[in-house]
C-alpha cells in the first residue's frame, strides 16, 4: 500500500481571524443542525444493515439426528490466531470421531472467521449475530451444546455452492 501524504495548507500569519473562523464553523454546524437527514439507526425497531461478510458469534452445524457436524479434526484450534478454541477429540458410540469438548471463548475471539474457512466439514461457522449480552462472563465461553443451539444464520463469508471461492 502506497503511503499518500496529504499536504495541508496552513494559513500564514496575518491571514486568519479567529472570529471569522468561528462564525464559519458555527454556520456549518448550524447547517447540520437543521439538516433533516440523520445517520442514526433506531436500533431495536430498525435493524442495522449487516454486510454479507459480517462475522458474529459462532454456530455449530448439526446433522439431522442432532449430532454436531464437527469431526474434531483440530484445524480450527490450530488456525485460530486468538487461540480461543479448545477441542478434545474422541470417538462416539458409532465409531465416529467427534468433539468431546468444544469450547469457543467469544471474549478472546477476534471474529476473523478463519475457523469457518478452514473447517473441512462445514461444521463451525461465524454467524450473522451481534446481540450477545450476558449477565456473567463465563457465559461467553460457548460450549458445544450452546454452539449447536445457536439459531442465527451463519455468515455468507463462505458460499456453500462455491466451496473453493473460484
Amino acid at each position: 500500500m502506497a503511503v499518500t501524504v496529504k499536504v495541508m495548507h496552513r494559513p500564514e500569519a496575518g491571514e486568519t481571524s479567529y472570529l471569522r473562523a468561528t462564525l464559519k464553523g458555527m454556520a456549518l454546524t448550524f447547517k447540520h443542525l437543521v439538516n433533516p437527514k440523520k445517520v442514526t439507526i433506531e436500533y431495536p425497531e430498525e435493524r442495522p444493515f449487516l454486510s454479507p461478510r459480517w462475522r458474529g458469534t459462532h454456530v455449530m452445524e448439526t446433522h439431522a439426528d442432532g449430532r454436531p457436524k464437527c469431526v474434531a479434526c483440530g484445524l480450527c484450534p490450530t488456525v485460530c490466531p486468538a487461540n480461543c478454541i479448545r477441542l478434545v477429540g474422541g470417538e462416539d458410540d458409532m465409531g465416529n470421531r467427534y468433539p468431546i469438548v468444544y469450547e469457543i471463548d467469544e471474549f478472546r475471539c477476534i471474529f476473523c472467521g478463519m475457523c469457518q474457512e478452514v473447517c473441512p466439514v462445514e461444521a463451525i461457522h461465524v454467524g450473522v449475530h451481534f446481540e450477545n449480552a450476558e449477565y456473567t462472563r463465563d457465559r461467553f465461553v460457548y460450549d458445544l451444546d450452546r454452539l449447536m443451539e445457536q439459531d442465527h444464520p451463519s455468515t455468507l463469508l463462505w458460499d456453500p455452492s462455491d466451496p473453493l471461492s473460484e
Binding site: V71, A72, C73, T78, G89, R97, P120
Partner: protein, 537 residues
C-alpha cells in the same frame, strides 16, 4: 572408511548433481545422500522393496521406461532425473490413482499431518481429482493389540505385511483378494494378538490405514513436539522420540538407529509412557520431618541440608535407581565420596525372559527393565533385591548413619524406612510413604523432563533430551546433588548436563573421553569393552 576402499564406487549424475556411492546402491538411496527425496510408499529402509507403489519412478536417460528407483541400482555414468516432466507427470498420475478410492477423510484421520499421501499430493498432486465414480469401502477392522485398520485409507504398500514377514518373522498379515478388492487382512480371528512388535506397523504405515488405538483421536500430529530420547523401559536403550503435547507425553515413536534398534521398538516399551505423565509429584523442597516439615525455596533448603550433611553421621549409605541418568548417579557418587564414602546400592526390575525381534535380533526386550543398569554398575553401585524390584533393604531400618535415596520410590518398605537414621535425605519425583521420616525431601525431575545419558546393555552411552517441563520447583538431580557438594566444599556446580557428564568420567574410566558431542544422537560405546550379558547375571 576402509569399506569404501575395497568396495567399487559408481559415479552418476542425479538431477544435475554428481553423486558417488558404493556399487549396488539404489537410485533412491543415492538420491537421499545428495538431499533429493524421491517420493515412495512401499520402500522402507528396514524392509525389502517390491517396487509396487510405483511412486518412486524416475527417468533414467536412455531407458525406454521409467525405473523404480527403490530397486534400480545406480549404474556408472547414468543420468537420472527425478524431477523431469515425465517423472513428475507420472507421479501425479499415480497419486491420482491413490486418491481415486481414498476416502479423503483427513479431518478424522489420525495420520493427518504426518501422512505421506497428504504430503505428496499437496506437493505435486493434481488440484482436482477426475474420479466421479463411487468409492469402494472396506470399513475398519480391529487387528488386535494396539492396531486398528482402516481399509479405505490403505494404499496397499504392504509395508506392514513385509514387516511382519521379514522383521517380526511372524507373518500374521497378508493381502487377500486381488486387484481393487485387495485388502490387508489377518489370519482368522487371532489377528496380531501375541505379537510383541506389532506396534511398528503403525509407525511404518505411510497413510492412516493402520492407527494406534492408544493414540486414536488423542492429538493431532502437528500439535506434537518431538524430542529425541531413549526408551527407558528396558536396558536395550532403543532410540525414540517423545511426542509431547502441552507437557503431556502422548506416545513414543522409534527413532532410527541402525546399530541399536534399526527403525523399530517393542510394544512393551512403546506403551509404557503413562508414568511420565504422573501428576502426583513432589514439587517443592521440604526440610524437616513429615510432622513439622517446611516447604522452602531451594536456596534455603540446600543450605539447611548442606549444614546437616556437613556433620553427617557415619556410615553413609545410599539407594540409587537404575532409571536415573549417568549424570544423576555420578553426582550421587560424588556426594557420597564428599561425605567420606559409603555403599551405594540400587534395585531394578528384571523380566522373566528376553523378547528378541527375530528379523533384527540386536533389538531385544532385555531382562533388565531399567535403562541404566550398565551406568550404575560402572559407577560401582551394586544391585540388591529381588527380580520384581523389591527387597534388599531389609537391614536398613536399623541404619543409624546417613541415608540418601535417589529416585527409588521405595514402594515396598513403607513408613518404617529410615526413622532411626541420623540423617535421611530423599531425592525423588513422587511422594512415597517411605519419605515420611526423611529430614529433607528434595524434588527432582524425571527422565522425560531432563537431559542426560543412559548406558545400555551393550555399553552404548546414549543421550536423551527433555520433552516436558518439570512441575513446580523440581530440578535435575545432578544439579541438586552438585549444589550440595559445592556447599560441602567441593567443586563448583556444573553449568549444564554436559558438564555434569564430564564430571562423571572422574569416577568411571569407561566414560573418559566421551563428550555429548561425540555421543550425538546415535550414541557412543564405552571405552572399555563391555561383555554383552548373554546369560542372566
Amino acid at each position: 572408511m576402509s569399506e569404501s576402499a575395497t568396495k567399487p564406487m559408481v559415479t552418476a549424475t542425479l538431477d544435475g548433481r554428481t553423486v558417488t556411492v558404493p556399487k549396488g546402491t539404489t537410485i533412491l538411496q543415492a538420491a537421499e545422500t545428495v538431499g533429493v527425496w524421491v517420493p515412495h510408499y512401499c520402500y522402507h529402509p528396514g524392509l525389502s522393496s517390491p517396487a509396487q507403489c510405483r511412486l518412486c519412478l524416475v527417468e533414467v536417460q536412455g531407458a525406454p521406461k521409467l525405473a523404480p528407483s527403490c530397486v534400480t541400482e545406480l549404474q556408472e555414468g547414468q543420468v537420472v532425473h527425478t524431477e523431469s516432466p515425465k517423472a513428475k507427470e507420472m507421479r501425479q498420475g499415480v497419486l491420482e490413482f491413490y486418491l481415486a478410492n481414498h476416502p479423503l477423510d483427513c479431518p478424522v484421520c489420525d495420520q493427518s499431518g504426518e501422512c505421506k499421501l497428504q504430503d505428496y499430493v499437496h506437493a505435486e498432486g493434481r488440484v482436482h481429482g477426475r474420479s466421479r465414480e463411487p468409492k469402494r469401502g472396506f470399513g475398519r477392522d480391529d487387528y488386535g493389540r494396539d492396531v486398528l485398520f482402516y481399509g479405505d485409507r490403505c494404499g496397499r504398500c504392504t509395508r506392514c505385511v513385509r514387516f511382519m514377514d521379514e522383521v517380526a518373522k511372524d507373518p500374521r498379515l497378508t493381502v487377500v483378494e486381488r486387484g481393487n478388492r485387495s485388502v490387508i487382512d489377518t489370519f482368522f480371528e487371532e489377528g496380531l494378538q501375541g505379537s510383541a512388535f506389532a506396534g511398528n506397523i503403525v509407525d511404518i504405515c505411510p497413510v492412516g490405514a493402520l492407527v494406534s488405538k492408544d493414540f486414536l483421536h488423542k492429538a493431532r500430529a502437528w500439535d506434537l513436539d518431538h524430542s529425541p530420547s531413549v526408551c527407558p523401559n528396558c536396558s536395550q536403550g532403543c532410540n525414540i522420540d517423545l511426542h509431547v503435547r502441552d507437557d503431556v507425553v502422548q506416545r513414543l515413536r522409534p527413532r532410527a538407529n541402525l546399530e541399536v534398534n534399526h527403525h523399530w521398538m517393542c510394544d512393551y516399551g512403546r506403551h509404557r509412557y503413562e508414568w511420565m505423565n504422573r501428576q502426583d509429584r513432589i514439587e517443592v523442597p521440604v526440610v524437616g520431618s513429615s510432622a513439622d516439615g517446611v516447604a522452602l525455596e531451594w536456596g534455603l533448603a540446600l543450605r539447611q541440608v548442606a549444614d546437616r550433611l556437613a556433620n553427617a553421621p557415619q556410615p553413609v549409605m545410599a539407594v540409587a535407581s537404575a532409571s536415573s541418568s549417568n549424570e544423576d548417579l555420578g553426582a550421587l557418587a560424588h556426594l557420597v565420596r564428599a561425605l567420606g564414602g559409603g555403599e551405594i546400592v540400587f534395585r531394578s526390575e528384571r523380566a522373566e525372559k528376553e523378547i528378541p525381534l527375530p528379523g533384527f535380533p540386536t533389538l531385544t526386550r532385555r531382562y533388565d527393565l531399567v535403562p541404566n543398569r550398565m551406568g550404575a554398575e560402572i559407577l560401582g553401585m551394586t544391585r540388591v533385591g529381588k527380580d520384581d524390584g523389591t527387597g534388599g533393604l531389609e537391614g536398613w531400618a536399623a541404619h543409624r548413619g546417613t541415608l540418601l535415596v535417589l529416585g527409588d520410590e521405595l514402594r515396598d518398605v513403607g513408613v518404617d524406612f529410615g526413622p532411626s537414621a541420623g540423617l535421611y535425605v530423599y531425592l525423588g519425583s513422587y511422594p512415597t510413604p517411605a519419605a515420611s521420616s526423611a529430614h529433607a525431601v528434595l524434588p527432582v525431575t524425571t527422565f522425560a523432563e531432563g537431559e542426560g545419558t543412559f548406558a545400555n546393555v551393550e555399553g552404548r552411552v546414549q543421550r536423551f533430551w527433555p520433552g516436558v517441563r518439570p512441575p513446580g520447583l523440581a530440578r535435575p538431580a545432578w544439579l541438586v546433588l552438585a549444589a550440595l557438594v559445592e556447599r560441602l566444599g567441593g567443586a563448583a556446580v556444573p553449568e549444564s548436563a554436559e558438564a555434569a557428564f564430564l564430571r562423571v568420567a572422574e569416577l568411571a574410566p569407561e566414560l573418559q573421553g566421551l563428550t555429548y558431542e561425540a555421543i550425538g544422537t546415535q550414541g557412543a560405546l564405552l571405552n572399555e569393552p563391555v561383555a554383552l550379558p548373554g546369560s542372566r547375571s
